[in-house]
Symmetry: C2
DNA sequence: CTGTCCGATACCCGGCGGGTATCACAGCGT
DNA sequence: ACGCTGTGATACCCGCCGGGTATCGGACAG
């Protein structure tokens, strides 16, 4: 029938996240009664119970869970519409490229250099974010394109182009016994008693089990590593954010990580297309200077240059 | 700042599509002055001119074009939120699978049989639509999954799984000189004087140049073919919608068509996952009964069974 | 039993969305 | 030249709905 207003969706998301009408109303800057009324009307309009208000607390129903996910996506889309329109009206709009802080440092540097070198290219602004934030920033219009990493990031819903694949390395204090090894396996680094692997949140926000500390931000992680309290397995190119007294040792059987450039589907923007083309061009540049004779034939920890294949959003689980 | 309301987006889309305030207001069921006011406020809020109202007519600015595209996507997302929530609250919700009428007939039949045979599977409802409609129906929540065809359909923004690849055939009146050939090439069928190839709209809605009639719906096409007024190059499996006195001749160099099952990214639904799994299982079933020893080795016009690869939304141009 | 916590209800008010009437202006026909 | 017509903008009014305050009702805790 009549469709929902964004205000109602915002209200519902607030309640669904807080599971508490009072706090949600507070967060929204309105009083509690209008909020209750709005949610009630929303339920009546949809003909579905969204919340179980049982004594002492509010819980999401199945339908409520669906609406929470869908409403977030819809609100992102609305916000994206506003942001992209504003920026389209700005004559000297810079292109915003978002990437995880510290990842793909060398690629990013080369990409920016290449773009600066192109004659008619739009200026590019780099937005550094925390792990897993790229998808939202791309979806809600804060960014025009992103560097993301398969299989870590959620690429669902974007168009992507693979740029380069690489192995992973373990980052160890130089004094650690394992630091002298020339290669390691996952079995070697899992369950090292004094150096547990830090645990990242999965895509749904929960943490996997394990002995390591729970980590959500890059800075938390940096400090843990600097303190010698955590072991890290990261893509080889992330050696860029280097600690002086740590060494990187290739982990031969760690999953390969592919850096991809991603952009919102259906983006007909000339500027985004140019950026993607330039990034794809770097694939060849990396291939030239990596003087390994056969692509894909170099050892783990090195870069594997991808052929000109087109690829490939796919669903992934979090980095477990 | 303050974000847009869906009503404002609906209003803008109506005006942008009609390029006429009066007609747009009529379509929206409101009077013209409030509509003018709403658009004006929208422009003021965004700080961007969306429409050039020069005397005698309205035109979209660049920013207006961006907003039109983004607003459609956002409205689809909002509509999808409402529909999916309603259906999630329905205890006996059927799964809606959308596909082009007439395409992949045999696959569809087998898929439905397989799903009916599964013990705990949800009932499936099939929604048949016109060419190019699947993406919208999937995006706005009318459907839970779709059978689509690469490279014809726009797969951007969906998760997909390839099911089978096949060649294309030319559909000819039995009496036609070319009908006796056992194989044809695109050069043979292009520019046949008495049988021009029908022209489909591209993804952007425009038509390619050429001598053939412009066609938008399956029924238009069916009539043209039945009248012997148009030549058709279609996937081999679409022979299902057969005309009694037409024959299908393989076109060896026509692009291969891949039937994929697509679903909205991030769909955590158990039922959709089961459908995709069943569809992927059919890939193996097709492989078994097609007693060609080597996959991919059979002649053009036949089916090529895909290996268990994971793939691959990619941007495509329309069927030109 | 009573205090407290929390969502629901009752009721009021102001602003905004929507309506009608009208204006301003550009083509255009005669 | 002059109205006619078609278009979007302006002026102004009204009713509804979003938001506020006050209060209720039920469920624990003690």
């Amino acid at each position: 029938m009549d469709d929902l207003e964004t205000r109602e969706l915002r209200y519902f998301v607030a309640v669904a996240e807080e599971l508490h009408f009072g706090r949600a109303a507070d967060r929204l800057g309105i009083a509690q009664p209008p909020l209750s009324r709005a949610i009630r009307r929303l339920e009546r309009r949809l003909g579905v119970r969204l919340l179980d208000r049982d004594r002492r607390g509010v819980a999401l129903t199945d339908a409520g869970g669906v609406l929470l996910r869908e409403a977030r996506a819809a609100l992102d889309a609305v916000a994206a519409a506003a942001r992209r329109t504003r920026r389209a009206g700005d004559p000297k709009r810079p292109l915003v490229l978002v990437t995880k802080a510290g990842a793909s440092h060398e690629l990013l540097r080369r990409l920016l250099d290449a773009l600066a070198g192109e004659p008619g290219a739009a200026p590019v602004e780099v937005l550094l974010c925390e792990v897993g934030e790229q998808a939202r920033l791309l979806r809600d219009g804060h960014a025009d394109a992103a560097l993301m990493h398969r299989p870590f990031d959620d690429l669902a819903g974007f168009d992507t182009e693979d740029i380069l694949a690489e192995g992973q390395v373990a980052l160890l204090p130089a004094a650690h016994p394992l630091a002298s090894r020339s290669r390691l396996t996952m079995a070697d680094v899992r369950d090292v008693p004094d150096l547990p692997i830090a645990r990242w949140p999965r895509l749904d926000g929960s943490y996997p089990d394990g002995p390591g500390p729970e980590v959500r931000t890059q800075s938390q992680l940096a400090q843990l590593v600097a303190l010698g309290r955590a072991l890290l397995v990261i893509p080889a190119s992330s050696r860029a954010w280097q600690w002086p007294d740590h060494v990187a040792v290739p982990v031969v059987d760690a999953p390969e990580v592919t850096t991809v450039v991603a952009w919102p589907p259906g983006s007909r923007s000339q500027e985004v297309a140019a950026l993607v083309r330039t990034a794809a061009g770097l694939r060849a540049a990396f291939a030239r200077e990596a003087h390994h004779p056969a692509a894909g034939g170099d050892g783990p920890g090195g870069l594997r240059i991808l052929g000109p294949m087109t690829s490939a959003p796919e669903r992934t689980d979090g980095r477990a």
